[in-house]
Symmetry: C2
Subunit: 272 residues, 2 copies
């Protein structure tokens, strides 16, 4: 037996790329590849496939819903083995050349082969944009949630403070109560920024349940309108009772702003 | 002769309305009613016609081109005689109910019957938005002009200063040289505001020739790119020579911001 002399297969080095992607969610079926409707993931996979001449699988950090926007979605993919290595500028231009203008790769960079856009994300920042006005300006159409009646931003801030911290957010998700999944998440911060009729709810947390940000935005608006008290938010949180559709804000106002990673991982996934 | 006793027809009081209108110019054939393509004017006339049950003619202050946006277009129309008078809130909601979300009436108010949105305009403010970046973010698609190479904003400011004042702007228009029209206009101010990759050219003047703002923006960008000198702008102005298409910026970046009127006329036509 020629021990120690087994044939060693030198695995060709895996070439993993990280992408920062922005999209206007209007007209797309969300991030994830769907049977019905065109998904952003699918279009990026097609673009990458055209560039390398071989199908490519792209993994995104967040499965944004249909109509939801992204300013800084983060994704990764492995370059097909033996394919030509592009300088990152060329890869970026090449992918964009095969994408519709509603989707843009803002940055492309090589990362360590153990980087994973979804599993290694430490947290995310979302922004929910509200237009508090009787008339929705045309340039905000499908890009903000129009709330016609006046909002009490101070009350919304008080209600937001109740949600900050580590809680079971089942009541603020589209999950059913029987679902076994862990529904505990930590919200690090909720800021409500108001400039005239433009009001933004900026939420940062370690992770978000299905429709959690839209459910938070919808609930804060109910408080801002005076339809519910600040206490109601805490009661819902403790009661773990999902309220149906009424409290889920529409997708139009939701933006995935940024995904955070450990610094050592090549980290920064900010859009700029 | 029963002098002085001619039959006096008491003309019913003319009810004139002033509208402040915003629109996303993408997909419209501009402001003015066209044979081909859907114009904003036409859609507002149709909406008003539905509201009053009788066709209505709407006059706008500025004939914005196809693809050009408005934040504060000003228009007026006369309510059909004997038609019901709406409170202004109701008129505004009624018009918007019959308009696509890409066009919104922001304000409606009764004005004196001698108010004229076009002939009494003292001046206008336009903004031309440039995105100075190799990648055009999806939310700026069709809403800004993407200029990939770096712009020298200081040089653009120097060139803009040459244009401020009263000049014959024939060279900065789409008119032919033989046209007899008066092509002298006064530009009160050009400000160039840069925030990172977003650069806005804000032009205020007493009136603008056909494609004048886009021609100014296009010329300033040529200077900003270093393709032409600051002096070239002054030479063009004096030479009255039109340069073909090369210097006309695309419609995507142009916004009619505001129309100014004499204070006594009910004046303020700001979008808010």
């Amino acid at each position: 037996m020629k021990s120690g002399l087994k044939q060693v297969e030198t695995t060709p080095a895996l070439k993993r790329w990280k992408l920062i992607i922005a999209y206007d969610g209007t007209g797309f079926a969300g991030w994830q590849r769907q049977k019905n409707g065109l998904a952003v993931q699918e279009l990026i996979e097609t673009a990458a496939g055209k560039l390398f001449g071989i199908p490519v699988t792209v993994h995104g950090a967040s499965r944004t819903d249909s109509g939801v926007h992204a300013i800084g979605q983060c994704a990764h993919f492995d370059q097909p083995l033996d394919s030509r290595t592009f300088p990152s500028k060329e890869l970026l231009l090449g992918l964009n050349a095969h994408l519709p203008p509603q989707i843009r790769v803002l940055r492309a960079s090589r990362v360590r082969p153990d980087f994973h856009s979804r599993f290694q994300a430490l947290g995310k920042r979302y922004e929910y944009r509200i237009l508090n006005s009787r008339v929705l300006p045309p340039h905000d159409y499908q890009r903000a949630w129009q709330v016609s009646l006046p909002l009490d931003v101070q009350k919304m801030r008080e209600a937001a403070a109740v949600l900050v911290g580590t809680h079971d957010f089942l009541a603020f998700s589209a999950f059913s109560k029987d679902r076994r999944e862990n529904t505990v998440r930590t919200i690090h911060d909720i800021r409500i920024v108001g400039r005239g009729e433009k009001i933004s709810v900026i939420v940062e947390g370690d992770g978000f349940l299905y429709r959690m940000v839209r459910s938070i935005a919808g609930s804060l608006v109910r408080v801002g309108l005076g339809r519910e008290s600040v206490e109601w938010v805490g009661e819902r949180l403790r009661g773990r009772d999902r309220l149906p559709g009424v409290v889920t804000a529409p997708p139009d106002g939701l933006y995935l702003i940024r995904v955070f990673y450990p610094v050592a991982r090549g980290a920064d996934c900010s859009p700029r």
